[in-house]
């Protein structure tokens, strides 16, 4: 009943801002609002002293955490291009989380042609 009321009111799905995906696992993006976009994935592991190991296997996306993102549209779901920097989930300590929250990883993505930063 509530859905019907919402539809009658002309409600559209709400936009997904890129910032909302910071800290989320990569599958949240690839199986969700970024499913149809061209996706660039930067493995930022060297920033935490690890060897990069991202393989592009979508079955492993749940094991990777998004630490920076930029998109070609303010709504991730409408973006033709999305760029993310990722770290293996097991390397995201509380300290790394704090660095991500303070924007230390913002420069881990290039964002050329993708001006909407997370």
């Amino acid at each position: 009943m509530l859905c019907g009321v919402v539809l009658l009111a002309g409600c559209t799905p709400s936009a997904v801002p890129p910032a909302s995906l910071i800290g989320a696992t990569l599958d949240t993006l690839t199986a969700g609002p970024g499913a149809d976009a061209t996706l660039l994935v930067q493995d930022a592991s060297p920033r935490v002293g690890a060897t990069p190991s991202y393989s592009g296997d979508p079955d492993l996306d749940a094991a990777w955490r998004i630490v920076a993102i930029c998109t070609s549209d303010p709504d991730v779901a409408k973006s033709a291009q999305i760029e993310v920097a990722v770290l293996p989930d097991d390397l995201v300590t509380a300290g790394v989380d704090a660095e991500v929250a303070s924007g230390d990883f913002r420069d881990a993505v290039d964002c050329a042609g993708r001006p909407y930063h997370g």
């Binding site: 690839t30 149809d36 976009a37 061209t38 996706l39 660039l40 994935v41 930067q42 493995d43 930022a44 592991s45 060297p46 920033r47 060897t51 990069p52 991202y54 393989s55 592009g56 291009q81 760029e83 920097a85 420069d107 881990a108 993505v109 290039d110 050329a112």
Partner: protein, 167 residues
């Protein structure tokens, strides 16, 4: 019947051009046969596994020692040169390639560990076709004139192949 000749027949573009005379009404036998225009892809050859010149996606490494993976969803353009009035649909049919203007690739590629500031680029891989277009004006089975285009080229990107590298 070979695939080429089959597609040539299917893709044959025939159009009524003009009547040369104006007979009296009711005198059907006095109408001259119509002139038909036939457009055909000829002298076709192809070369597979060719790397396209347009960059599908480019990724600038931002963490020294980091990698970049360019994933699915990249859109490659299908390029077909036309001449003598042949349509896109007829040319692609006679070449035996899809008629869509773009192809969405389904594969990804990862860079090795690179220095920050290095660009990792993906380009389409596909088949290049070389051909000409022949235009013939035909009346009652007789070829009145034949015109041949200059050499033309088409690029048909593969959905399942891309080429990645630093250049």
């Amino acid at each position: 019947m070979s695939l080429l000749s089959h597609t040539a027949v299917v893709g044959l573009l025939v159009s009524l051009v003009s009547f040369a005379a104006h007979p009296l009404p009711g005198d059907a036998s006095a109408y001259p046969p119509p002139k038909l225009t036939e457009l055909t892809v000829v002298s076709k050859s192809s070369l597979g596994g060719q790397i396209g010149s347009k960059v599908l996606a480019s990724c600038l490494i931002r963490s020294t020692g980091g990698t970049c993976t360019i994933t699915r969803g990249k859109t490659a353009s299908r390029e077909v040169q036309l001449s003598l009035g042949m349509s896109w649909a007829s040319a692609t049919a006679q070449l035996g390639i899809g008629s869509g203007r773009t192809v969405t690739t389904t594969v990804s590629c990862s860079s090795p560990a690179l220095e920050a500031g290095t660009s990792w680029k993906a380009r389409p891989v596909g088949t290049i076709y070389y051909y000409k277009i022949r235009k013939r004006l035909i009346q009652a089975g007789h070829v009145l004139s034949t015109t041949m285009s200059s050499p033309l080229k088409a690029f048909n990107p593969s959905a399942s192949k891309i080429a990645c590298g630093l250049h």
